[in-house]
Symmetry: C2
Subunit: 354 residues, 2 copies
DNA sequence: GATGTCTAGTAAAACGATTTATTGCGCGAA
DNA sequence: TTCGCGCAATAAATCGTTTTACTAGACATC
């Protein structure tokens, strides 16, 4: 925002932003009048239609746009939300963000996005900085929030109960049930579970849901078949390594249920390299249904989370909470439903060959 | 940003934001003094160390944070950039954005991200709206810009020459050369090319580079083997369809070079479904090297673009241009180099079996 | 005693809007 | 003639900073 523009407006586009005052001067009106008209304020009722038209015509002609900073300062509203994600370039967060943007932009809101990469200092600092930037609300995606904030918050897959926070969660009980029933129905009895990283908000809840589902099906969860992702890069590397180790230990199993599709894809690679066929020898179930899941080879059987929709719900919920700040009856939890997507990475279990 | 906080600060975190004036009152100093001290302004030289300490101590104690809106309004700086992308949840843009964020946040800048989904009205409108939000500069990723903007602009894979715009481009000549030499060296002579969508900025440049490379290698580009992606969703669907059609026409070829990895993955699926083996019958080369490329089955041979690095370069370039607004000697074009990543989706050509 | 130089700050004007209270003015009614 | 009222607008305060120009006192110098 240079103070002085070096060149004159070349031609049609008047690039020198024009203030309300200049516009008022040009119209021989006061800034107050122009402002009232532009904002269609009820106080403008007494201003004759003719003048109103004159004002609007001039505004169009000079392409007047109110200075955002000044307006926000005065109204104490920024039409800006904060979005905190662990990592932008990752399927999960990107899809949720996409859903958020979709809706926000329609409503004239913008979002400031930050990613914390699980660094505790950033996790602590970012919400504060965003508040300093006058955000009116915050969406935290797969991000553990520590404290209450002075603005409405929606946490996508946050599982802590914090005052002022609406938790948007998947029905993990149902998700686990769907996957487990699918594997069970195919005759799988020795199933590997790849748990999520410790820092991932869903890890704990999902794991507990899986164990419940197993119990319900009379399926024993063998401790030696339970492994956990380690490391904070969002890469199939992690699922690959953990599966390699499992194979190196000589464990026997017929199916594998991964924490997410990314990990499942890595696991498949490890299985193949060990000479095992998927799904011939081992059935694999992923989680999330990221865009590439359908185009894996074999196409991935997975539990779909409606990620984009979750972003949209988060945005609408937050905006309506912002619109009614006094209302304390906002939802504390919103649950969305998963969907089992059966593709080609699972099939009938054969007897344990290894 | 509710005007009145309903509840008192519960305990330790003083959530009621405190103004410079209140702080000054508390200290029995003028706002001016406090401001000078807080900003470590050279004009604060005459203020004794002791007073300075007193001010800073109080600021810490009350957790004072200058109001962003007021400060920006006064200084005419927003420490905010605009980022325009076609689509957030897409490998290419997400990686570039990730690189941008990485660097920006370190520098105290934030970014407002919008996605236009190739809608012409949004393409026209968004830069204006962002300007209204007082952005100091703009990064356009794979987005055709129409007009000159009153702020510095960096276009990632923009190929138009517009005053005030720094174009950050891949060395497409080299990229095409690498891929073509690779295929040529493996003995491939009949190669399918999947061109990018018309709206994608790289499409034209890359295609021209490919033809040049072919000529250089004495390789004929058969028109019947050239197809183009249609549709604006970032899905492997597109590559799948176009390849299916090609196969339905009964074309014969031994290799396929796709516009991007996403399309290559779709193409592979279509080839397999037609009973062809990759790379046994058909070698496939992708482009970009998205995160999942290495974990495809077969692992994808592809031309890597340093996407994350491109984001970083875009951000540093833009910030340095913002820091020196008068300097007209900024780079008009920055070129980054591709890298050939040979994996398992290409191999020696066999004689044409079909 | 007049002048100059430091020191330690302050007053006040921006920045560009929004909004409340107020002001002439013309006109009909008492 | 005076009062009240609707009309058409405006003046001025405000949002919370930043920044330039200024001041009041203390001390030193000529």
């Amino acid at each position: 925002m240079p103070r002085k523009r070096a060149t004159h407006s070349s031609s049609d586009s008047p690039e020198q932003p024009l203030s309300l005052k200049s516009l008022a001067d040009y119209l021989s009106l006061s800034p107050a009048t122009v402002s009232l008209v532009m904002n269609r304020s009820p106080a403008a009722a007494s201003i004759p239609r003719k003048t109103q038209e004159r004002v609007r015509a001039a505004a169009r002609r000079f392409n007047y746009r109110p200075n955002f900073l000044a307006r926000s300062l005065r109204r104490q509203r920024s039409f800006t939300l904060g979005v905190v994600v662990p990592e932008i370039s990752e399927g999960y967060a990107a899809l949720v963000m996409s859903g958020i943007e979709d809706y926000l932009l329609r409503e004239g809101y913008f979002s400031l996005v930050v990613c914390h990469r699980h660094r505790p200092d950033l996790l602590e600092e970012y919400p504060k900085i965003l508040l300093g930037r006058a955000i009116e609300g915050l969406i935290a995606v797969d991000t553990p929030l520590e404290r209450k904030l002075p603005v409405p918050v929606v946490a996508v897959s946050g599982h802590r109960i914090i005052p002022g926070v609406t938790n948007l969660v998947l029905n993990h009980r149902r998700a686990a049930g769907l996957a487990m029933e699918h594997l069970h129905a195919l005759g799988h009895r020795r199933i590997v579970f790849i748990k999520g990283q410790e820092f991932s908000s869903d890890t704990r809840v999902r794991w507990s849901a899986i164990r419940d589902a197993a119990r319900h099906l009379d399926l024993r969860v063998a401790p030696e078949l339970v492994v956990q992702l380690q490391g904070d890069v969002p890469s199939s590397e992690l699922g690959y390594h953990v599966t390699q180790e499992l194979l190196a230990r000589g464990e026997k199993f017929t199916a594998l249920f991964a924490f997410n599709d990314i990990a499942a894809i890595g696991a498949i690679r490890a299985l193949r390299e060990a000479g095992l066929s998927v799904p011939g020898d081992i059935s694999v179930v992923g989680f999330d249904d990221i865009q590439s899941a359908a185009f894996q080879n074999p196409a991935l059987t997975t539990v779909r989370q409606p990620l984009r929709k979750m972003g949209e719900i988060a945005a609408t919920t937050l905006l309506s909470r912002i619109a009614n700040p006094a209302d304390t009856s906002y939802p504390k939890e919103i649950m969305v439903e998963p969907e089992m997507v059966v593709r080609a990475s699972t099939c009938q279990a054969r007897s344990l060959s290894r």
